[in-house]
C-alpha cells in the first residue's frame, strides 16, 4: 500500500497554495500533496529494563527459575497426595464447602505444576528473549504463470498418455464402476443399522384390563387412593417384566390425576376418566420429554424441556409452547376390586410427531 512517494513534510503540507477547504468533501491529493499518507515505518525500539540493567535481567532469571521450581514442588505434592490421601475423604475447602480432598489436592497441585511451567516460559520470553521485531516478506499465494501452465500441461499430457479420451469404452466403464462401488458399503451400513419401525411408534404396552401401577413401586391403585389434586406416575401392569422394559416404559408412561369432575370442560375427557380421575400419556407430543410438572391449582401440565403447557381441564390441549397436539388420553375404569384399569389401549400414537402417524 501507499507506494506513492514519501511522507509529506510539514512544510509541504503547510504550503498556502495547496490548502483545500474542508467543506469541499472528501479530497484526495492535489498540487503536489500525495493522495494518501505513507507508512511511517517501524516504531523505534524501546528497551526493556532487563536489556539495559544486568541486575534486572538477573532478577528476571530468578523469577523464571522460581516458577519452574514451584512447578517441581507441585508435581511432588501431586505424587505424594496420589498415594497418601484416601479416595473417600471429604474436607471443608474455603469457598467451595465439603469437597473430595483427593480431587482438590490432585487438581490444584497438577494445575500449579502446569501453570508455573507456562508462566515461567512466558516470563522468560517476555523479559530475556529478544524483543526486537523482525519483518518477513510475504509473497502472493498464486503460483507463477509458468508453474500454472506447467501444471496444466502435466495434467493434460498425463490424460493424453493414458489414452482416456481416445478410448471411450474405458472412460465410461470406469465412470460406471467408480459411481457404483460405494453402493454396497452404503447399503450394508444403512440396511443393517436398525430394524424398520413398523407399528412400533404407534403402539404401547397398554391393553384393555391392565391395571394402572404406581411407578416405580409397581403397586396397583385404588380409585379411592386418588384424592383430588393428587398426581401419580403410572405404568401398565407387568411392563417391568418385558424383555425391553426401558423401551416400553418410554412409550407407556402415564400421568394420573384427579380433578373435581365439574372442573373438566371436555365431555370426552370425563367419559374416558373415572369420577374425575383422568390418565394422560406422559410423553410430550413435541420431542418426547416426559411431561413431568403438574400444577394442581390450574390443572396445567408443563414439559420441563421446552415448556409446552397442556390444560388438563380441556383434554390436555396445548395452551402454550412449541407442541402442537394434545397429550393422548388413556381410557380408564375400575375393575371388580375397585383398582384402576385401562379400558382400551391408546387410540393414537403417543409421543413426538412423525410423518406417517396421521
Amino acid at each position: 500500500m501507499n507506494e506513492d512517494g514519501d511522507e509529506p513534510t510539514e512544510a509541504e503540507v503547510s504550503q498556502p497554495g495547496t490548502a483545500v477547504r474542508l467543506d469541499q468533501g472528501h479530497i484526495e491529493g492535489s498540487g503536489g500533496i500525495p493522495e494518501r499518507f505513507t507508512n511511517p515505518g517501524p516504531a523505534p525500539h524501546v528497551h526493556r529494563l532487563a536489556d539495559r540493567d544486568e541486575r534486572a535481567a538477573r532478577r528476571a532469571e530468578i523469577q523464571v527459575a522460581t516458577l519452574f521450581g514451584i512447578s517441581m514442588v507441585a508435581t511432588v505434592v501431586f505424587l505424594v497426595a496420589y498415594f497418601a490421601i484416601d479416595l473417600h475423604r471429604y474436607a471443608f475447602v474455603p469457598g467451595i464447602g465439603q469437597a473430595n480432598l483427593s480431587n482438590v489436592v490432585l487438581g490444584v497441585s497438577l494445575g500449579l505444576s502446569l501453570l508455573c511451567i507456562g508462566l515461567g516460559a512466558v516470563h522468560w520470553a517476555k523479559t530475556l528473549m529478544p524483543d526486537t521485531e523482525v519483518a518477513e516478506d510475504r509473497h502472493p499465494q498464486r503460483s507463477s504463470d509458468e508453474s500454472r501452465i506447467e501444471a496444466a500441461d502435466t495434467i493434460l499430457a498425463g490424460g493424453t498418455a493414458s489414452q482416456l479420451a481416445r478410448r471411450p469404452l474405458i472412460k465410461y466403464t470406469l465412470g460406471g464402476a467408480l459411481g457404483l462401488f460405494a453402493l454396497p458399503l452404503v447399503v450394508q451400513l444403512a440396511g443393517s443399522l436398525g430394524p424398520l419401525p413398523k407399528a412400533d411408534l404407534s403402539t404401547t404396552f397398554w391393553r384393555k384390563g391392565l391395571r394402572l401401577m404406581r411407578y416405580p413401586e409397581f403397586t396397583p391403585i385404588k380409585a379411592s387412593d386418588v384424592t383430588i389434586g393428587s398426581v401419580f406416575h403410572v405404568m401398565p401392569e407387568g411392563i417391568q417384566k418385558t424383555p425391553d422394559p426401558l423401551e416400553q416404559e418410554g412409550k407407556a408412561a402415564v400421568l394420573l390425576m384427579r380433578l373435581d369432575p365439574s372442573d373438566i370442560l371436555s365431555a370426552k375427557e370425563r367419559d374416558w376418566g373415572h369420577d374425575g380421575i383422568v390418565a394422560y400419556s406422559m410423553i410430550c407430543t413435541h420431542v418426547g420429554c416426559p411431561v413431568g410438572l403438574y400444577e394442581q391449582q390450574t390443572h396445567h401440565l408443563l414439559c420441563p424441556c421446552h415448556q409446552s403447557t397442556f390444560d388438563v381441564t380441556r383434554d390436555a390441549k396445548v395452551i402454550f409452547g412449541p407442541a402442537n397436539r394434545p397429550l393422548p388420553q388413556l381410557k380408564i375404569s375400575v375393575d371388580a376390586d375397585n383398582y384402576l384399569v385401562a379400558d382400551a389401549p391408546f387410540l393414537e400414537p403417543v409421543g413426538p410427531s412423525f410423518w406417517e402417524r396421521g
Binding site: 501507499n2 510539514e10 503547510s14 495547496t18 483545500v20 477547504r21 474542508l22 467543506d23 493522495e35 494518501r36 499518507f37 507508512n39 511511517p40 515505518g41 517501524p42 516504531a43 523505534p44 525500539h45 528497551h47 496420589y82 473417600h88 480431587n103 482438590v104 490432585l106 487438581g107 490444584v108 497438577l110 494445575g111 502446569l114 515461567g120 520470553a125 528473549m129 529478544p130 521485531e133 523482525v134 519483518a135 516478506d137 510475504r138 499465494q141 424398520l196 419401525p197 412400533d200 411408534l201 423401551e247 418410554g250 408412561a253 420431542v287 418426547g288 420441563p304 421446552h306 415448556q307 403447557t309 409452547g321 412449541p322 413426538p352 410427531s353 412423525f354 410423518w355 406417517e356 396421521g358
Partner: protein, 597 residues
C-alpha cells in the same frame, strides 16, 4: 518524516541495541544429523523455526482452542481406559452410597466409578469436560475475532470454511460426549434428539430407528455414540485442524495495521525462540488454568442426576450451553407450524428449529467471505486486518448475527429466567419471539451508526489533534484549548485504511447508443454494494489535513507547525507560526474561571 513524529533519542536507542552473539557456525551432527541424512528435514525445519508470527492478544483465542483440543484429546484417552460404553443394565454396588442398589447402565456405572473409585479419575473427567467447554468457547470467540477483523478475506476463505466446519463438528462432538454417561439429563437430551429425527419429513421414523438401532432408547446408541465420539469425529476434527494450521503457516499470519506493517510483510517475532517459549508456555497456562478450574468447580455431577430412565425428568433440563441456541430455537418456534393432511404429519415446529436452523446458520457463516468478495469485487489478497469500525456494514452484520444467536441462547434458559426473576414464562417466551425478529436488525443499525461515529471521531482526531487539556488565553482575552497534532506513528493506524466505494453499474448506454440496464445480477450486486458502502467515512488524506490546518472558515482548525508542541484550537483567526503561544509555556493560563486567571 518530521521530527515531531520521532520521539527524541530513538535513534540512540537503536544504536545500542544488543545484538546477541551469533553462535559459531557448525555442521549438524549427532542425532539431528542422522535424521537429516535420511529425511533432509534441516531446511524445512530451519524455515519453520525462523517463521515470524505477529503479536496480539486476540491471536491467542485460536491458540486457546488449539491447546484445549490437545488437552481434551489427552484426557479423553485416559477416560477410555475406564469407561464402559454399554447400555447393559447392572446393579450399582460402588462406594457412592445414595446410588447403591439402583439399576443403571454400565456406561453410567463406569462414569460414577471414574468419579469415585478411580484415583484421580474425577479430576481427569472434570478436566476433559472443562477443556471441551473451553475448546468450544474459544472457537466461537476466535470465529468472531476473525470475522470482525476481516481475516477471512482472500486468500483465507478456505480456512474460514474449514474453521466453520470445525466449529460445527466441535459442538456435535461435545453433544456426543456428554450423552455418553447415560445420566438422566443427557438421556433426556437423547430422547429429544430422537424426537428431532422423527420429525424429518417422510423418512423420520426410519432415521430414528436406524440411528438408535430400534426403539428408543435401545442398547445401540451408547456404543455407537462412543465410536462417533472417540474415533469418527476426532479423526475428522484432527484432520481439518491440521489443514487449518498448515494453511495458517502457508498464508503467514495476518497482522493488525501499524507502523512498519504492510500488506506485503509480517512483523513479529520468530518462532525460535520467542514463540516456542510463548506458545509452548501458553499451552501449559491453558492446561494449568483448566486443571485448577476442574479441581475447584464441579462440572456435570451425573451422580446427582441419576441413571437414565425414560419416564422421570428433572426440572430445568437443558443441554450443555453450546447447544443452547438450538434448544432456544425449539422453545421459540411456534407450535402451529405442525400440519396434518392426507394422513401424514409435517412437524415443522420441530424439524426447522432442530434440524434446519443449525446447518443453515453455519452455511451462511461459511458462505460469508464469498458474498463479501462478490459485493466488493475485490480480488486482492488481504493480510492486514480491518479495525471493525472501518468495515461498518460487516461489523453491523456480525453483531446482528451475534444478537440472533444470543437471543436463541437466552431462550434456552427461559424457564430458569422465569424462576429466578419471578416472571411469567409465557411473557418471557413471547417477548423473546418478538425480540428474535426485532432486535437483530436494530443491532445492525445501532452498530453501524456506532462504527461510522467512531470513524468520524478518528477523522476528528487526525484533523484536529489531541486535546491537551491546557487552556490558553490570547492577548485579546479569547480562550483556547491547546491541541496537539498526532505524531505520525500514532496517526498511521487512523489513516491507513481504504474506504471501498459502492460499485456502480457500467455505462447505461453502450457504444452504439443503445440503452442497457445491466443484468439483474449486476443490478442486485450494485444494490448490495450500495447497502455495504454508501455511507463510507473516508480516512483523512494529507490534503485534508492541510486544509484543516489552513482553512480559517472551517468549524475547527489547527495550525500544524514543527515548532509547536501545543496547538491553538477554536479560533477563527489563524495564527502565524511565530505566534507567541507556540512556546511551551503559554503566557496566560486560566486557572480560576471566576477571576479569569
Amino acid at each position: 518524516m518530521s521530527d515531531s513524529a520521532t520521539p527524541k533519542g530513538a535513534a540512540g536507542l537503536r544504536a545500542d541495541d544488543v545484538t546477541p552473539e551469533a553462535p559459531k557456525k557448525r555442521p549438524m551432527a549427532g542425532l539431528a544429523g542422522w535424521v537429516d541424512d535420511r529425511t533432509g528435514t534441516a531446511k524445512p525445519v530451519s524455515y519453520l523455526l525462523k517463521k515470524v508470527f505477529p503479536d496480539h492478544w486476540s491471536f491467542m483465542l485460536g491458540e486457546i482452542a488449539m491447546f484445549s483440543l490437545v488437552i481434551v484429546l489427552v484426557t479423553g484417552v485416559f477416560l477410555t481406559f475406564w469407561f464402559v460404553p454399554s447400555s447393559h443394565q447392572v446393579l450399582y454396588n460402588g462406594s457412592y452410597v445414595p446410588l447403591k442398589g439402583i439399576e443403571m447402565s454400565e456406561a453410567f456405572k463406569s462414569t460414577v466409578d471414574i468419579s469415585f473409585d478411580v484415583r484421580g479419575g474425577l479430576i481427569m473427567r472434570q478436566i476433559h469436560h472443562w477443556s471441551a467447554l473451553m475448546f468450544i468457547a474459544a472457537i466461537i470467540v476466535h470465529m468472531f475475532r476473525v470475522f470482525f477483523t476481516g481475516a477471512f478475506r482472500k486468500p483465507r476463505e478456505i480456512n474460514w470454511v474449514i474453521g466453520t466446519i470445525l466449529s460445527l463438528l466441535a459442538i456435535n462432538e461435545g453433544f456426543a460426549g456428554y450423552s455418553l454417561p447415560d445420566d438422566l439429563l443427557s438421556g433426556t437430551g437423547l430422547r429429544a434428539a430422537e424426537g428431532f429425527m422423527q420429525s424429518i419429513p417422510v423418512l423420520g421414523s426410519y432415521v430414528a430407528f436406524f440411528v438408535f438401532g430400534g426403539a428408543f432408547p435401545g442398547e445401540a446408541i451408547i456404543p455407537r455414540l462412543y465410536t462417533v465420539h472417540v474415533l469418527l469425529l476426532p479423526a475428522i476434527i484432527i484432520g481439518l485442524f491440521t489443514a487449518h494450521i498448515v494453511l495458517v503457516a502457508v498464508h503467514k499470519h495476518t497482522q493488525y495495521p501499524g507502523p512498519g506493517r504492510t500488506n506485503d510483510n509480517v512483523v513479529g517475532f520468530p518462532f525460535m525462540p520467542v514463540y516456542m517459549a510463548k506458545a509452548g508456555g501458553f499451552l501449559f497456562i491453558v492446561f494449568g488454568i483448566t486443571t485448577l478450574i476442574s479441581a475447584l468447580v464441579t462440572i456435570n455431577p451425573i451422580w446427582m442426576y441419576g441413571p437414565y430412565n425414560p419416564s422421570p425428568v428433572t426440572a430445568g433440563s437443558q443441554p450443555d450451553w453450546y447447544m443452547g441456541f438450538a434448544d432456544g430455537a425449539l422453545r421459540l418456534f411456534p407450535g402451529f407450524t405442525e400440519f396434518h393432511a392426507l394422513g401424514f404429519t409435517l412437524s415443522l415446529n420441530v424439524f426447522i428449529p432442530a434440524l434446519v436452523v443449525m446447518p443453515l446458520l453455519y452455511t451462511i457463516a461459511g458462505a460469508y467471505p464469498f458474498i463479501e468478495a462478490w459485493v466488493t469485487g475485490d480480488k486482492r489478497e488481504h493480510h492486514l486486518l480491518d479495525r471493525p469500525r472501518n468495515a461498518p456494514t460487516r461489523t453491523g452484520l456480525g453483531i446482528m448475527a451475534l444478537s440472533f444467536y444470543l437471543i436463541l441462547f437466552i431462550a434456552a434458559g427461559n424457564d430458569l429466567i422465569a424462576i429466578k426473576l419471578g416472571l411469567s414464562i409465557n411473557d418471557i417466551t413471547r417477548s423473546l419471539q418478538v425480540m428474535l425478529i426485532v432486535v437483530p436488525p436494530l443491532a445492525y443499525w445501532v452498530t453501524k451508526r456506532i462504527c461510522l461515529s467512531l470513524q468520524r471521531r478518528d477523522r476528528d482526531l487526525v484533523l484536529h489533534g489531541r486535546e491537551t487539556g491546557r487552556l490558553v488565553r490570547t492577548a485579546e482575552g479569547k480562550f483556547f484549548e491547546a491541541h496537539e497534532p498526532l505524531p505520525a506513528l500514532e496517526r498511521w493506524a487512523l489513516v491507513q485504511h481504504e474506504t471501498p466505494q459502492p460499485l456502480r453499474l457500467k455505462a447505461t448506454v453502450d457504444a452504439n447508443g443503445v440503452r442497457r440496464r445491466g443484468t439483474r445480477r449486476e443490478r442486485l450486486r450494485a444494490r448490495i454494494s450500495g447497502f455495504y458502502f454508501a455511507e463510507g467515512v473516508h480516512a483523512v488524506t494529507p490534503a485534508e489535513l492541510a486544509a484543516a490546518s489552513h482553512d480559517g472558515t472551517a468549524h475547527e482548525a489547527i495550525t500544524p507547525s514543527r515548532e509547536w508542541v501545543g496547538q491553538l484550537h477554536g479560533g477563527a483567526d489563524e495564527r502565524p507560526e511565530t505566534d507567541a503561544y507556540a512556546s511551551h509555556e503559554p503566557e496566560v493560563e486560566a486557572t480560576d474561571p471566576t477571576t479569569g486567571r
